[in-house]
């Protein structure tokens, strides 16, 4: 079977995807026919050879096209292969809002972009209707939660084989995992670290967004919870209307929302160090640690993202390190939880999540 692949987005993840597409295991089944950055598209039904001759190949050789024009071009060559897929490796809401049109054109979508699946219920419903109308078209998004970790596929397998999911709980943000693994380790740190110092280090290491506010406000976790909750047949009531409607505790201090510069943000975050230290100390005095977790509790009808305390002997305390994600599925069949853990962020592992979806189609 041959799959025609169009890739939109040539950032870190897009580049890692190109690298994996060039591997023999994938190259023998897949033909890269279109490659777009935010401005230009290189469209070549005969196939774009990999690796690219230069990093600015699309910019220099591509033409200015709207996404809708790219979709039209893909539609025109659809019959040349058994399947045509568009990989959205952007963080663009414009691309996300086009999903119904792309799917309607008979083009499957693979994506690590959380926006389409975690925004308004109206967009989500339109996507579901389009998918239901044409079973040959797929939308696969393993990499939206846990990057390369098999989270979405495992949840789908549990549900489709008739298990009842009672609760999903985990550390879903690689950034917040790094920050709290270092700020609040199982054994009391001496001297106690400053919260803003750890955020600054995470920023230096490239683990945060350019402005760490986007990590500390919890929205990334809330979006992932929305995606998971929507995959459940018995969605916790009320069905989230989008990530904004998931109760989310923001760790970003009041007054700092408007600070645009990331470095200034971290400097001013130091004013709140004493508050974080007081939380850490309280937890430590009770033999506990702080972790920013997300919960989808089907039985209690709760979906929320918040800072919680866990005993220092809990797996969220002992076995996490680096920027690990950990996700525990509590189900009827698994009376002890099914747990998946590992790096939940990074270009190579995110690309792996997308490619594992592509391998399912092969």
């Amino acid at each position: 079977m041959t799959i025609q692949v169009a890739l939109v987005g040539t950032g870190l993840v897009g580049s890692a995807i190109l690298g994996q597409l060039a591997l023999p295991t994938l190259a023998k089944h897949c033909l890269l026919v279109s490659l777009s950055n935010s401005k230009r598209t290189l469209f070549s039904p005969g196939g774009i050879p990999l690796p690219l001759p230069s990093p600015d190949h699309v910019q220099s050789q591509g033409e200015e096209l709207l996404l809708s024009q790219v979709v039209d071009k893909l539609k025109s060559i659809k019959d040349k292969a058994e399947k045509t897929v568009l990989i959205d490796s952007t963080a663009s809401s414009t691309v996300a809002e086009s999903y119904p049109d792309i799917l309607q054109a008979g083009i499957s979508i693979l994506t690590p972009n959380k926006l389409a699946l975690s925004s308004s219920a109206a967009l989500f419903a339109r996507i579901q209707e389009t998918l239901a109308a044409d079973p040959s078209v797929r939308l696969l998004h393993e990499a939206t939660v846990g990057a390369g970790l098999p989270i979405i596929s495992t949840l789908n397998d549990l549900v489709r084989t008739g298990d009842k999911v009672k609760r999903i709980e985990g550390v879903f943000s690689g950034t917040l995992s790094y920050i709290f693994n270092h700020f609040s380790p199982p054994s009391a740190p001496s001297p106690p670290p400053k919260f803003s110092d750890i955020v600054a280090r995470a920023k230096e290491l490239g683990y945060t967004e350019p402005n760490p506010h986007a990590d500390l406000n919890g929205s990334d976790v809330a979006r992932k919870l929305t995606i998971l909750a929507r995959l459940l047949p018995e969605t916790p009531i009320p069905l989230p209307e989008g990530y904004q409607s998931v109760p989310t505790s923001s760790l970003s201090p009041e007054g700092l929302e408007e600070v645009e510069d990331g470095d200034e943000y971290v400097r001013r975050l130091a004013d709140s160090d004493y508050e974080f230290e007081s939380l850490r100390r309280q937890a430590q005095d009770m033999g506990q640690v702080l972790r920013y977790v997300g919960v989808v509790d089907v039985e209690k009808g709760i979906v929320k993202a918040s800072l919680e305390t866990y005993p220092a002997t809990h797996p969220f305390a002992t076995s996490l390190g680096g920027s690990d994600n950990i996700i525990a599925f509590h189900t009827e069949r698994y009376n002890r939880p099914l747990i998946i853990q590992g790096a939940g962020a990074g270009a190579a592992v995110t690309a792996m999540g997308v490619m594992s979806d592509l391998l399912k189609l092969v």
Copy 2:
């Protein structure tokens, strides 16, 4: 797409598979056309309605057929559906040895049966050749390692997306997990339990084979390691010729191999309690626990199943409970390991592993 399904084996796992096949998510794509126990087969190209009217339906309504005759019948109706699959939920080596013939007949195989993939290199090679000759035919075996846990699919995704697996390490036997989680917990037990008492309890709970020798001799772990090692492109040298060739430390005391009765086996195991207690005590004095683990170390060229010690703070000590499996993949891409944990035995979760493979074909 419609898939014609033939199920061979109506034991605990087979029955759980029938239960899951009756779910709407699977029933709308799958038609059960053949059902076999060890003696008889009920063959019905129009479909066998589920649930079965009675537990002895196959025995009372089926006819005596050899497996080769079942395969011939399946071959004769193959064109009526897009795919025809045989699910081998036996522990039979006769069925395992027929895999090349079944695949050659254009019938895909799904199985939790480890025998075909972990026995002689000759059988394994014949299976690989048959699969290579006809890409439309598949052999999927998620449930051979870790039951419903996504172990095989994750390893395949890592390999196919170009990651380099350096080491796979884990607790692969639910039975030995239960035994050592209770015999050698992270905090010193008081009074120290007797090894044979714990094996007796595991036997009562149905966690062991009828004769626990089959668990304690490590062969189940060795077979799983053989399967994993054979999935790697850079197989550790030497490529195991079958599970027997994986270095395996047996925990079954000398002289007890010949004891046929399980209860007598456990009684006589008590004579060795002092040896196990001495191992446990030695580990405990160094702040460690005992775990029976399997390792596939690509870098060192080692594949082995053995009793090892781990610090009491290691995830194999702290986060395991019940009869959990835990498997850690150390790879180039995942500098901290990708870990999957949860129940690794039981009919429902094993059936889920098989059904997740079936869902991949749907």
